[in-house]
C-alpha cells in the first residue's frame, strides 16, 4: 500500500504541471491560435516567480510565499504570451514561428537576466523549499484517500485540480466559452454574429500564457533546489498531452495523469520491488506515453477534434 501512495504522490509532480500547461494550450488552440510557445512561457513564469522567491525568502516562507509566487508566475506568463498574441493575432504572422521565437528567447533571457542581476553572476536561482505539506490537517488522516492525496503534497496540486474544474465549466457552460470555441472553429461565422474574434483570441492566448507560466513554477518547485533556465521539454510534452486529450478538459486530465503515471514508473521502478521483479526495461515505460499518443492520433485522425481554424490567422476580408 505504501508503494501505491508513493507512486500517486510522485505522479502528482509530473501530472499537475502537465495538466495545467495542457489546459493552457487548450484555451489558446480552442480560440484558434496554435501555442507552441508553451515551453518558453513556462520558462518565463518559472524564472520570474523563482526569482521572486529567491529575493524575499529571508523574510517570508511557507504557503503565503508560494501563493504570491503563483500570482507572479501567472502574471509573467500572461505578459510574456502577449508577445505571441500580438504577433499571431494582430500582425497575423505565422503562429509556429512566433511561438518558436518565444521558446528561443525565454531561456536565453532567463540566463542573461539571472547572470546580470544576481550576486556573483550565477544563472541558477536558488530557492528554499518551505512549501511542501507533510499532511493536510484532518483530510490527511482519512484512510486511503488521505495518504493518496493529502500527504506529501503541495497546494499547487489542489490548484491544478481546481483549474481543471473551472476550465471545463468556462469552456462548456459560459457564454465566453461558447464564443471562444466558435472563434476556433469558424471565426467568420463568429464574426458575422458580432463576436470580436481578435478579442476572443487575445483572451485565449493570454489565459494560456497565465496557465503555462504557472505550470513552469509548479514544475520546478518539487523537483529541484534551483531554477536553471530550463523546464526540460515539459512544455512540448504538454502539447502531446493536449493532443492526446483531444482538446477536451476531462480527456486532458486523463492524459496528463496517464503520462505522469508512466513517467513515474519509468523513473522510479528500481525502488519498487514488484515492478523490478517484472524485469521490463525502463525504456519501455518511457516509450509508452508517446506510442499511445501516436496510436490515439492514428485512430482519431479522421475525425480529429482539433479546432478547425487553429493555426489560421483570422483575416476579416477572407472568404
Amino acid at each position: 500500500m505504501d508503494i501505491i501512495y508513493f507512486i500517486v504522490q510522485q505522479m502528482m509532480f509530473f501530472s499537475i504541471p502537465l495538466l495545467i500547461v495542457a489546459l493552457g494550450g487548450m484555451f489558446s488552440e480552442r480560440s484558434g491560435v496554435v501555442n507552441i510557445a508553451l515551453e518558453g512561457i513556462m520558462v518565463a513564469g518559472a524564472f520570474f516567480s523563482i526569482y521572486f522567491i529567491n529575493q524575499v525568502q529571508d523574510r517570508m516562507s511557507g504557503q503565503g510565499l508560494l501563493l504570491l509566487a503563483i500570482a507572479i508566475a501567472a502574471v509573467s506568463g500572461l505578459l510574456f504570451s502577449f508577445l505571441h498574441a500580438y504577433a499571431a493575432i494582430t500582425l497575423k504572422s505565422d503562429q509556429t514561428i512566433s511561438g518558436t521565437a518565444l521558446n528561443m528567447i525565454a531561456p536565453a533571457a532567463a540566463i542573461y537576466l539571472a547572470r546580470t542581476t544576481l550576486p556573483n553572476g550565477v544563472q541558477q536561482i536558488q530557492f528554499i523549499n518551505t512549501f511542501r505539506i507533510e499532511k493536510v490537517p484532518v483530510l490527511g488522516d482519512i484512510p486511503v484517500l488521505g495518504p493518496l492525496l493529502f500527504q506529501n503534497s503541495y497546494i499547487t496540486t489542489y490548484l491544478g485540480l481546481l483549474i481543471l474544474a473551472v476550465s471545463a465549466f468556462v469552456l462548456y457552460k459560459t457564454r465566453f466559452g461558447l464564443r471562444l470555441r466558435a472563434c476556433g472553429e469558424h471565426p467568420q461565422a463568429a464574426d458575422s454574429v458580432g463576436i470580436n474574434v481578435y478579442k476572443m483570441r487575445y483572451a485565449g492566448v493570454l489565459i494560456s500564457g497565465a496557465l503555462a507560466g504557472l505550470g513552469g513554477l509548479v514544475y520546478v518547485i518539487p523537483t529541484s533546489t534551483n531554477f536553471n533556465a530550463t523546464v526540460s521539454g515539459y512544455g512540448f510534452l504538454a502539447l502531446a498531452v493536449l493532443i492526446f486529450g483531444q482538446w477536451k478538459p476531462l480527456r486532458i486530465f486523463i492524459a496528463a495523469f496517464f503520462f505522469g503515471l508512466m513517467k513515474t514508473i519509468a523513473s522510479s521502478y528500481s525502488g519498487i520491488p514488484f515492478l523490478q521483479d517484472l524485469g521490463i526495461p525502463s525504456d519501455i515505460y518511457k516509450m509508452i506515453p508517446f506510442i499511445a499518443t501516436m496510436v490515439v492520433l492514428a485512430f482519431t485522425s479522421r475525425r480529429s477534434q482539433a479546432p478547425k481554424a487553429s493555426g489560421v490567422p483570422y483575416d476579416k476580408g477572407a472568404r
Binding site: 508503494i3 508513493f6 544563472q123 523549499n129 523537483t223 528500481s270 525502488g271 519498487i272
Partner: protein
C-alpha cells in the same frame, strides 16, 4: 537617409565587438555546463580567477553553444585570436579538440583537465592514439579515491543502504562510482558488517529533471539512506528528493554543503588547486610539458571537505587515517580501465543492484 541609418547601425554593432577583442592572458573554455554549475566547470573557473587576480593576469571564459569537437575548436580559435597564451579546458570531451589544437597553435599552451589529448577514435585496435605535445598537459584526477573516501566515510558514519546516481557514464563519473562501491566494502570489512546494499545508476545526463527526482525519491522510499549524487545538476534533484524524504546526499567535485542541509559531505577534487599549480608553473617557466599528471591523494588532488561535512561520528582523525592509507598506497582500487561494469568488482559484503 536609409543608407546613413544602416551605416550607423552597422558601426554601432561593430564597435563593441572591436572593443571586446582585447588581449586576455588566460582563457577557459567550458564543457557542457556553465562556470557556475557547482561542479567541475566552476571549480576550474575559481582556480583561474584566483590565480589571475593574485598575479595580475587578464582572464576570460568562453561557453560553447553546443557540444562537438568542431565547436570546441572554434572556441579555441576564438580564444587564440583574443590573445590567449594559455587555455584551460575542463572535461574529457576536450581530449579530441586539444589533440588537434596543440598542433594548430604551437605557441599557445593548453591545460586539459579530466583527460589526456587523443584522436578520439576508440574503434581502432588498441584504442585511440594518445599524444601530448610540449605545449600541452593532461590532468586526470583519481576520482576513484574521492569516491572511495565518500563511501568509506558514509559507512563508518553508520549508513548501510546507499545509492549512487551518476550523470553521463563518462570515465570520471565511472571512477567515482567504482571507488564509492569499494569504499563501502572496505569500511564494511573493517567494521565487520555485512549485507550492505548499494543501488547503482547512471541517469545519462547532467540536468535536474523530475525523472531524477522521482528515481531518488523512490530509492529513499525503499529505504536508501544516502545517495552519492555524481552528475552536476542531477544533484539538485537528488537534494530536492532528500529534503522531502528527510534523507541524505553526498555531493561531488566541489564542496556542495552550502546547497542543501541534506549534504553530509562531498567527494571533492582539488580542481582549483591543480589549475593554480599548473598556471603558476607556466608563468615560472616550468610548464609540465607533454605530461600526463595524475592528481591523487598523494598530490592533494582529492578530498572530503571535513570542515563543512555533517557527519555524526566520522571524525577528522578517522579521515586522516584513511587518507594516509591512500597516500601510502595501501589501498588498491579498481578503475574504469580495470573492469567493464560495477558488477565485475569483486565485492563480498555489499550487494550491488545496477539499474540500467
Amino acid at each position: 537617409m536609409k543608407k546613413l541609418l544602416a551605416l550607423v547601425l552597422v558601426l554601432a554593432l561593430a564597435l563593441p565587438l572591436a572593443g571586446l577583442a582585447a588581449d586576455y592572458d588566460i582563457a577557459m573554455i567550458t564543457d557542457i555546463g556553465t562556470i557556475d554549475d557547482k561542479s567541475f566547470n566552476q571549480g576550474t573557473w575559481e582556480g583561474v580567477v584566483e590565480y589571475a587576480k593574485a598575479n595580475d593576469k587578464t582572464y576570460i571564459y568562453y561557453q560553447p553553444t553546443a557540444q562537438s569537437t568542431e565547436i570546441y575548436l572554434d572556441m579555441i580559435e576564438q580564444a587564440v585570436n583574443d590573445g590567449a597564451k594559455i587555455i584551460v579546458t575542463p572535461g574529457f570531451l576536450f581530449e579530441q579538440p586539444i589533440f588537434e589544437a596543440q598542433d594548430l597553435y604551437p605557441n599557445v599552451h593548453f591545460v586539459l583537465i579530466d583527460g589526456n589529448p587523443n584522436d578520439g577514435d576508440w574503434s581502432k585496435e588498441g584504442g585511440p592514439e594518445f599524444r601530448t605535445e610540449a605545449n600541452a598537459v593532461g590532468i586526470v584526477y583519481a576520482e576513484e579515491q574521492a569516491g572511495f573516501l565518500a563511501g568509506y566515510a558514509a559507512v563508518k558514519d553508520g549508513y548501510t543502504k546507499l545509492g549512487f546516481m551518476g550523470g553521463m557514464a563518462v570515465p570520471a563519473v565511472i571512477r567515482f562510482g567504482y571507488g564509492f562501491a569499494q569504499g563501502i566494502e572496505y569500511a564494511a570489512e573493517e567494521m565487520g558488517l555485512k549485507d550492505l546494499a548499494l543501488n547503482y545508476h547512471y541517469t545519462g545526463g547532467f540536468a535536474a529533471t523530475p525523472e531524477a527526482q522521482a528515481l531518488a525519491a523512490s530509492w529513499y522510499a525503499d529505504g536508501v539512506e544516502v545517495i552519492f549524487a555524481c552528475g552536476g545538476a542531477v544533484g539538485d534533484s537528488v537534494m530536492a528528493a532528500a529534503e522531502a524524504a528527510g534523507a541524505k546526499v553526498i555531493g561531488v567535485d566541489v564542496d556542495q554543503s552550502s546547497q542543501s542541509e541534506t549534504v553530509i559531505t562531498s567527494a571533492a577534487k582539488g580542481l582549483a588547486a591543480s589549475v593554480i599549480a599548473v598556471l603558476d608553473a607556466y608563468y615560472q617557466g616550468e610548464f609540465p610539458a607533454g605530461q600526463a599528471l595524475v592528481m591523487d591523494a598523494a598530490a592533494d588532488g582529492v578530498e572530503l571537505p571535513m570542515a563543512t561535512s555533517r557527519f555524526k561520528t566520522f571524525s577528522q582523525a578517522d579521515y586522516d587515517a584513511i587518507f594516509a592509507k591512500l597516500v601510502a598506497g595501501e589501498v588498491k582500487l579498481l578503475k574504469d580501465s580495470d573492469v567493464k561494469s560495477v558488477a565485475e568488482i569483486p565485492l563480498k559484503l555489499v550487494a550491488v543492484t545496477e539499474i540500467q
